[in-house]
């Protein structure tokens, strides 16, 4: 319980611990414990600092990496895109000039910004973490208040280590029960978004709770928190518990010795108090969940993999009907038809949603002794160089390669399609990433979002497949 006052949520506790100034009528000034930056959303912020003659206030609380634009081809192949080269060298120059540590191109610690924070132990419970990237919500899996910001805000944090924030509302997402075989964390979050819609969490911070969430590993919790933004919430959180502490223990930046004990004692105070009130709540029964897949052009357009594609004619609201109609036209899909059996051209296993070692293990487990179908290009892109090394130590790369999949270098890759990894117009992909917006994975490309298991099953058969039919 909290030491004073009314029962508080996890979010309120962290918020209260980070309010620097809260003048009536103004947004609160919030202190930021860790600022992650990358090559795409930071250059203009550094330009702003230079124009104003400002320094980075706490370079020791700032860490940079490069992930969005860098190729996933072998490192001995030179980068061709001059604009990517310019962004990379700009980040190197900015970090050198302002004294910011950088996990650069050749660093063994480089990777997707939301993969490397946790794996190096930088992400810890009770912190505030921001980054110029909306999937910063990933770090909330540790009981951290973490959210994406724009470049003006990146400049604000660089200059002052603080941000102006209107206090968001709270939204409890309770998931009770047990996941059936073949159903995973990705299916929980796709189910939530399909229910509340992509604007359902606007203005709120999710707290994921319940027995199903407690039963998840840290990597699975990260998958769920990652896509909080796809439900409209800027942040999503899971209260820290023994699973959290076990994950952090021994990592590079984890507290050691007596500091560890003190840290854990504090972290144990963070979970939401009994009787704390949320502004909104939804309950999901994990027992009833099935593998999920999206059929449309936003992550809320999702369904059970065995369902039929919805018919716009049955949608009452005019603009909703038009939105669905437009989406199905773009996807070239027929209402009322199943997605199961639909041929795909590409399977992408990667992104800050699903590129961690457990994701790769799941997919490799299914692909072992099997082949990727002849009509499919399967790309496997580990989330970081550390994930890549770990996978290679376990022989997962050999399984992927033997199956006919591409084993690539770490990066954001085809999730955002800035680095040359992209769909051709009209191609269909099953992707473990987070966004199926028009053109997201390449102009004219068509994306079905699903779990790593569904992706692997689809790669094997060459058509959208219920993984449960392949489980022994």
């Amino acid at each position: 319980m909290s030491s004073n006052g009314h029962p508080k949520t996890l979010f309120e506790k962290i918020w209260n611990q980070h309010v620097v100034v809260n003048e009536p009528g103004n947004p609160a000034v919030i202190y930021i414990d860790l600022h992650l930056i990358h090559e795409v959303t930071s250059p203009q912020a550094f330009t702003g600092l230079r124009e104003k003659g400002l320094k980075v206030r706490r370079p020791d609380k700032t860490i940079a990496t490069m992930d969005h634009g860098i190729p996933t081809t072998p490192p001995d192949i030179p980068i061709e895109d001059v604009m990517v080269i310019r962004q990379i060298s700009q980040l190197e120059k900015n970090c050198a000039e302002f004294g910011i540590p950088l996990y650069g191109l050749n660093s063994p610690n480089r990777g997707i910004v939301h993969v490397i924070g946790p794996e190096n132990g930088l992400t810890q419970p009770g912190m505030t973490i921001v980054c110029g990237d909306s999937h910063t919500s990933t770090h909330g899996a540790f009981g951290t208040l973490a959210f994406g910001i724009g470049t003006s805000e990146v400049e604000h944090v660089l200059a002052t280590q603080t941000l102006l924030q209107v206090k968001p509302k709270t939204f409890a997402v309770r998931v009770d029960g047990t996941l059936a075989p073949g159903v995973s964390a990705k299916d929980i979050i796709l189910n939530l978004i399909s229910r509340i819609g992509i604007g359902g969490g606007t203005g709120h911070v999710f707290e994921y709770m319940g027995s199903a969430i407690r039963g998840l590993s840290m990597e699975e919790r990260m998958t769920i928190c990652n896509m909080s933004i796809e439900g409209g919430a800027r942040a999503g959180m899971v209260a820290p518990d023994d699973t959290t502490f076990e994950y952090i223990a021994g990592r590079k930046h984890a507290p050691k010795g007596a500091d560890w004990d003190a840290a854990v004692a504090e972290w144990r105070q963070l979970p939401t108090d009994d009787g704390a009130v949320f502004d909104k709540e939804i309950v999901i029964n994990a027992n009833e969940l099935e593998p999920m897949i999206t059929y449309g052009t936003n992550p809320g357009m999702g369904m059970k993999i065995s369902d039929a594609i919805p018919d716009p004619a049955t949608v009452k609201d005019v603009s909703e009907r038009q939105t669905l109609d437009k989406a199905l036209k773009y996807m070239d899909l027929q209402p009322g038809q199943p997605l199961l059996g639909h041929k795909v051209d590409v399977v992408f296993l990667g992104s800050c949603t699903n590129s961690r070692i457990s994701d790769l293990r799941l997919a490799a487990g299914l692909l072992k002794g099997r082949k990727v179908a002849g009509n499919v290009r399967m790309m496997v892109v580990p989330g970081s160089q550390q994930v890549k090394q770990q996978a290679e130590a376990e022989g997962l790369d050999q399984i992927f390669k033997a199956a006919g999949a591409e084993w690539r270098e770490a990066g954001c890759s085809m999730c955002i399609a800035m680095n040359g990894d992209q769909l051709a117009p009209g191609q269909y992909a099953v992707s473990t990433s987070n966004r199926n917006f028009e053109g997201r994975q390449g102009k004219g490309g068509r994306t079905f979002l699903a779990s790593p298991l569904t992706a692997a099953a689809t790669a094997i058969t060459g058509q959208i497949t219920d993984v449960r039919t392949l489980l022994g």
Partner: protein, 204 residues
């Protein structure tokens, strides 16, 4: 930031719901290190043909689009990524305000910091604006930020919400960074009492 007090201007509509920032400015245009030229790529994939020629019927390619200062979008405008390139591109094209029934959080935050006014109206007003744009495209509406009103041609004034802080900054053309800098002493005392442990980069 430019001051914004009042604006009388024509509008154009892109009525689609859930317009995401990948549509506003596709990711391949984020490889820039400045803000120049983004307006030319605003809504690129909806605006240009495969050969790069402009689609004549897309609103941003019309004379009506070029003179409009207000963009009316569908519900949940600006969802998706945090890229500030989205409001940069909208402003680069020449818009000063966007009207919708709701905005995604990060897009709204980014816009307010730049002085691009995100105006939320109710569904009925939104419908009225849509039909106005269709039937009388040269009609102007007037935004009065001080009064927080949008005045329609029939004289009706519709109130819109905005937090007082952002409003004051935009009315005066003042960057929000100055306010944060004014609290430097409070930040220092906060740091003095904030546990050193949370500086995780320093450990290990």
């Amino acid at each position: 930031m430019e001051k914004f007090t009042t604006l009388s201007a024509t509008m154009v509509a892109i009525p689609t719901e859930n317009i995401d920032t990948d549509q506003i400015i596709p990711a391949r245009f984020l490889k820039v290190t400045d803000k120049a030229g983004l307006g030319d790529n605003l809504f690129f994939d909806w605006r240009y043909n495969a050969d790069g020629s402009p689609k004549a019927d897309f609103v941003l390619n019309t004379e009506q689009g070029k003179k409009a200062k207000i963009l009316v979008g569908g519900d949940n405008f600006g969802c998706g990524s945090s890229r500030e390139h989205a409001p940069w591109a909208i402003m680069g094209y020449g818009f000063k305000a966007v009207i919708s029934t709701s905005f995604a959080d990060i897009f709204r935050n980014n816009s307010l910091k730049l002085g691009l006014l995100p105006i939320v109206v109710d569904k009925d007003t939104h419908l009225q604006l849509m039909s106005l744009i269709e039937e009388e495209p040269d009609t102007q509406v007037t935004i009065d930020l001080e009064a927080q009103t949008l005045q329609l041609p029939d004289g009706r004034k519709v109130s819109f919400p905005i937090d007082n802080f952002s409003k004051t900054c935009i009315l005066n053309g003042v960057d929000q960074l100055g306010y944060l800098q004014s609290h430097a002493a409070a930040v220092e005392s906060f740091e003095a009492r904030h546990p050193a442990r949370v500086n995780t980069l320093a450990a290990g």
